[in-house]
Assembly symmetry: C2
Homo-oligomer: 141 residues x 2
Amino acid sequence: MAGKPQSRYDELIEILRASGLKATRQRKAVLLALSSSDDHPDANELHRRTRVLDDDVSLTTIYRTMSELEKNGVVHRLSFEGEPARFETADAPHHDHIIDLDTGHVIEFQSEKIERLQAEIARELGYEVVHHRLELYCRKR
Amino acid sequence: MAGKPQSRYDELIEILRASGLKATRQRKAVLLALSSSDDHPDANELHRRTRVLDDDVSLTTIYRTMSELEKNGVVHRLSFEGEPARFETADAPHHDHIIDLDTGHVIEFQSEKIERLQAEIARELGYEVVHHRLELYCRKR
DNA sequence: TAGCTAATTGCAAATCATTCTCATTTGCAT
DNA sequence: ATGCAAATGAGAATGATTTGCAATTAGCTA
């Protein structure tokens, strides 16, 4: 049996295996590229970053890998208004997003209060929140 | 000079004119179809409903009219996860949406408390909320 | 009311993000 | 080392939306 992962590399392999996926060269590269990103790249940008690590990964595989890992809760797909989907690793605690309308930059924030209110409102209407999406489209004051 | 609109029909014409648009047969039909809807149709559904009123309106015109009216704040474009954009007239007071994951139905709700918290959070980060989007993807309890 | 002109329209082609098909390759359990 | 299901890349397909363009029309103005 395998012990604890010894390196970043082994860690990636474990994550993939744990998701029931084969640890292919391509998937290791994509996942490494994404987990090294501290922003939220879209498929094309992630493709570019992945290629730096491994020349031979197709855009198709980027999409396929993101879909698989999303299914397993390893990555989140963010879909902001009128732009292609972006991705982030799901390891950070839950948060919502502020989108700077002038620069396009995305800032993360979290509010326990808002989460509670959401659950409360849903409950009053007979629902249970499975997941939510809160985006504040903002401008600097 | 024009007096107050005398009918629903004149009202539509006024709305279009006020948006700087010519009150064409097609636009009147689209706007009537949308303002008669109490749900949130996507472009195709709105096209279907418009055709009932006026046989000769193209899908292209649906898209173009929605874009124009959105610019002028007369309609809102809703873009939920993984589905085509939906539209609603902007006359109702602001509200957010609960999406029933099983049926796809959309329920509106509003929460003054949540709005206040959002503004507060943005302010703390040096931002001012221009608009926001809050969607609760839910299941019946 | 007729005429003018810029705005609008419909159609088809173009675009963009994303998914699918399928023949070839590869991870990994045996 | 071997076999086979899973994964890959290339390109075609899809679905939503936009755009180019020639023909039509709303709404002045005379």
